[in-house]
């Protein structure tokens, strides 16, 4: 499958601070691509360079086969962006502002008006068309920001922290929207909520201090750890841990009080994860240790902490 966005050797510094240090990645067409990283990793800078807000010091960005020239917009219909912390104008209605964006993209007035209605309905806010920004909450404005990014059905949509500051109900609505558009559009999303990225994305890039640590399928990132994480309602006794260590597939067992989870390492070469999980589930039942959740591999959050080395401190 051809890449929707191709990034090569992107570099960007703010004075002495190196925000991007030669980042190269390839975003496949269609689906949801996640970009994660700790604060200051360079996620927003990366998005800003792709979108043309910032001039890179070096490197190139290709969107839909067209190389992006800094200071010039990508081809019409190629890109939609929800920038982080961008504001709408206070003096005019949101409908008028979204219509303006549509007109700038080359839509006729009637097409632009139709797009305003369509995109506001998509984000569940058809009633705000005539309202001014000050009449809306932060969460609602974020959703209008998402609506503006979807005007004209762009091939690639970038959402920089789309659910930041949203209540769980609104965030779930955004997740649903992203899943709806993902089959026909390429969605690139960043978030500090790694559970969100894990559930939404097919592929993920992990950034740290301006460097790409890894780009892979989410399943590979979380599943390659030969480990079973079991959430128990009560802590196991040392004897119960010994019995679990006695299972053929299991090479190590330990209780992590801070997480409230039992970690069981297994030999992935000798045993398939599914079989190891079945053995463990049976043993837990025998030991009368009721489990709330059994996860094969680690969560993206655990893997992220391992990859970025944040757990070391």
């Amino acid at each position: 499958m051809s890449a929707a966005v191709e990034i090569r050797g992107l570099e960007k510094s703010y004075g002495a601070t190196r925000a991007l240090a030669g980042v190269s990645l390839s975003v496949p067409a269609r689906g949801v691509f996640g970009v994660v990283g700790p604060n200051g990793a360079g996620k927003t800078t990366l998005f800003s360079v792709i979108s043309g807000f910032l001039h890179p010091d070096a490197g190139s960005v290709v969107i839909g086969g067209t190389a992006i020239v800094p200071g010039r917009p990508p081809p019409a219909g190629a890109l939609g962006v929800l920038p982080q912390d961008a504001s709408f104008i206070g003096e005019l209605s949101l409908g008028r502002q979204l219509q303006h964006f549509g007109l700038l993209q080359g839509l006729s007035r009637s097409e632009a008006n139709a797009e305003v209605k369509r995109t506001l309905a998509l984000v569940g806010l058809p009633e705000v068309e005539r309202k001014r920004p000050k009449a809306l909450s932060h969460g609602m404005l974020k959703r209008v920001g998402i609506a503006q990014a979807l005007i004209g059905n762009p091939d690639v949509v970038i959402f920089d922290e789309p659910t930041a500051g949203l209540d769980p109900h609104a965030a779930r609505g955004i997740h649903g929207l992203v899943r709806t558009i993902a089959p026909t559009q390429t969605v690139i999303v960043s978030s500090h909520n790694l559970g969100e990225i894990e559930s939404l994305c097919t592929e993920v890039a992990i950034l740290d201090r301006g460097t790409l640590l890894r780009q892979d399928h989410v399943g590979s990132v979380v599943g390659e750890a030969a480990v079973l994480m079991v959430r128990l309602s009560t802590a196991p006794t040392p004897e119960q841990l010994d019995q679990l260590r006695g299972l053929t597939a299991i090479t190590a067992a330990s209780w992590i009080p801070s997480l409230g989870r039992l970690q069981l390492d297994f030999d992935a070469q000798a045993t398939r994860p599914g079989y190891a999980a079945s053995d463990v589930a049976r043993k837990l039942a025998d030991l009368e240790l009721p489990f709330v959740e059994l996860q094969v591999g680690k969560s993206l959050e655990d893997r992220f902490v391992e990859q970025t080395g944040l757990g070391a401190s």
Partner: protein, 284 residues
């Protein structure tokens, strides 16, 4: 994608609508109409007195007034006299008034072209849809349109007042010349404000910097003339402020008019190009 002229039109029109709907825009226009009407009334009242003064026993006083105007504007007495004889004196007064208020008006209505959009990151909603040259020029044209609209409103209110109250013959062509001249004279200052906007990216700082620049140029040119006794240096420094040296455009002498017009256009082109170059390169 829309053609560039069409995008330019959309940006310009949107900015005009934005300013006309803002509280400061509405208040500025309302204040301007009131002040213009009051000035028009005073000029109309003065018209009759001036007419009397130019004839009979007050001719000497009228001559003194002309000399005073010539001294203030640094133009030959003959040029001043010809202009006042050729056109309705109160209308020439209205022209001079507009030239005086034009810098303040341009500062008030045109200081924020791209600065607050950079500051609030609203520019990011635009930058992936439109190239920066079109965006910058569209916003400059939007600011120019609102300032020209304000100047036109003021000029027309004064002219109507003068024609009705003073009973002088309407001079529509001269009124058009007044409006075009003051509007064109506002352009260099607007390009200067645009440059400050892209350099600083903060609207209030742009206004403050512009006022400080105005004061600094006045002080520096005065110092060059009076303390250093370097008239040429004083003139050169004075012309750093974009609306200085435009009085020739009020009078009918063609040579001075051409020099002033060239200065206005040259300043707008050079400073506009500098702003444009910086805006193309800056981070948004």
């Amino acid at each position: 994608m829309a053609s560039k002229p069409l995008q330019l039109w959309h940006v310009c029109r949107f900015d005009l609508a934005r300013r006309l709907r803002s509280v400061s825009g509405i208040v500025s226009l309302a204040v301007l109409v009131i002040v213009s009407s009051l000035v028009g009334r005073q000029l109309a009242a003065a018209a009759a007195a001036l007419e009397k003064a130019s004839e009979g026993q007050n001719a000497e006083a009228f001559g003194m007034l002309l000399e005073m105007v010539a001294a203030m504007t640094d133009f030959p007495l003959e040029t001043v006299r010809e202009t006042l004889e050729l056109h309705s004196p109160p209308l020439v007064g209205a022209f001079a008034f507009l030239m005086l208020v034009m810098p303040v008006l341009s500062l008030t209505m045109g200081y924020d072209q791209c600065a607050s959009d950079i500051e609030t990151r609203h520019a990011r909603y635009l930058a992936f849809r439109i190239d920066r040259v079109t965006l910058y020029l569209g916003k400059l044209l939007g600011a120019w349109a609102i300032v020209s609209l304000a100047l036109s409103t003021a000029a027309i209110s004064m002219a109507v007042y003068i024609w009705v109250r003073a009973g002088s013959a309407p001079e529509p062509l001269y009124l058009v010349r007044i409006i075009v001249t003051v509007s064109v004279c506002a352009l260099p200052l607007l390009t200067f404000l645009g440059l400050l906007g892209t350099l600083r990216g903060r609207a209030r700082r742009v206004a403050l910097l512009a006022i400080l620049s105005w004061l600094a140029v006045g002080l520096a040119s005065g110092a060059a003339r009076h303390w250093l006794e370097l008239e040429v240096l004083g003139d050169a420094v004075e012309f750093l402020w974009p609306t200085n040296g435009q009085w020739a455009l009020v009078f009918d002498g063609w040579q001075g008019w051409l020099i002033s017009a060239a200065r206005v256009v040259g300043y707008a082109v050079v400073v506009g190009a500098l702003g444009l170059l910086h805006f193309r390169r800056r981070d948004l």
